[in-house]
Symmetry: C2
Subunit: 156 residues, 2 copies
């Protein structure tokens, strides 16, 4: 079970755009160069974040991406859901109700396996929903300083 | 991010083999019919559980699969790891250290994104490690009764 690589890309871009909020939109070309990522693939991920209302996309020669709302209102869970979809990792297809084993079955209660899987997934979601882009920015202040410094040099 | 369907299969087979422990090994043919699953695909999953020491495989005409240890010593996490591998769902490739953004970087501390992802994954693992096959059996006692009844009819 693997998350797509786009999750790491999207989270780092959100944190970076948070640090560069006074610079206006950052072009996809610059964001791709920032992390040495393939521009077209990165663009697809940032467009998904835009559709989810996490990023704003400004068209035009001076356009690019910026955070659509304050970083304390964007959780890691929001970013993961926008990029990986809302589906739970465990899909229960109720095999207990099929085949020779199910004969004479009633199955009034939800499957214990499915319930336990959901509980584990909720614990995971709770952790990610409790961590915002602002928290990540605050936890890496030296990187924020370097980001602003390097970006100023890039523009200068 | 999706778990393979084999996880549901594997967990239900473990619970069913727990209920049928007095019956000796259960053939792959019967287990597949039990849940109306494709025999060859199911066999691959049960072989993975056997390699992980969760199931025991007995060869021969009266052979089949059984639990390799008491159900209270097999956790849901054990089964998921045997079937999905031990890798974490989030793979950090340290893109923060690449490209124009990393210039002048030191990165002495672990990445906050990676740390938060790991914390969430640990919460998920903790839940699954706290739930055993014996717990699942105990939580579905009527299904255990039906399983034994249907199996006796199948053999009779």
């Amino acid at each position: 079970m693997q998350m797509g690589e786009g999750v790491e890309w999207g989270l780092h871009c959100c944190v970076t755009l948070g640090w560069l909020k006074d610079e206006g939109p950052v072009s996809i070309r610059r964001l791709a160069a920032w992390f040495d990522l393939p521009q077209e693939y990165l663009k697809k991920r940032l467009q998904a974040l835009t559709r989810a209302g996490i990023l704003a996309s400004t068209p035009g020669a001076r356009g690019g991406f910026s955070l659509a709302k304050p970083p304390e209102h964007i959780t890691m869970m929001d970013v993961v859901t926008a990029l990986e979809g809302p589906a739970e990792a465990f899909r229960c297809v109720e095999i207990r109700q099929r085949g020779a084993g199910a004969e004479g079955g009633q199955f009034r209660r939800p499957c214990g396996i499915s319930t336990a899987m959901r509980r584990a997934e909720l614990a995971w979601r709770r952790e990610l929903a409790g961590q915002t882009i602002a928290d990540l920015m605050a936890g890496a202040a030296p990187s924020g300083e370097r980001t602003r410094r390097n970006y100023a040099r890039l523009r200068g």
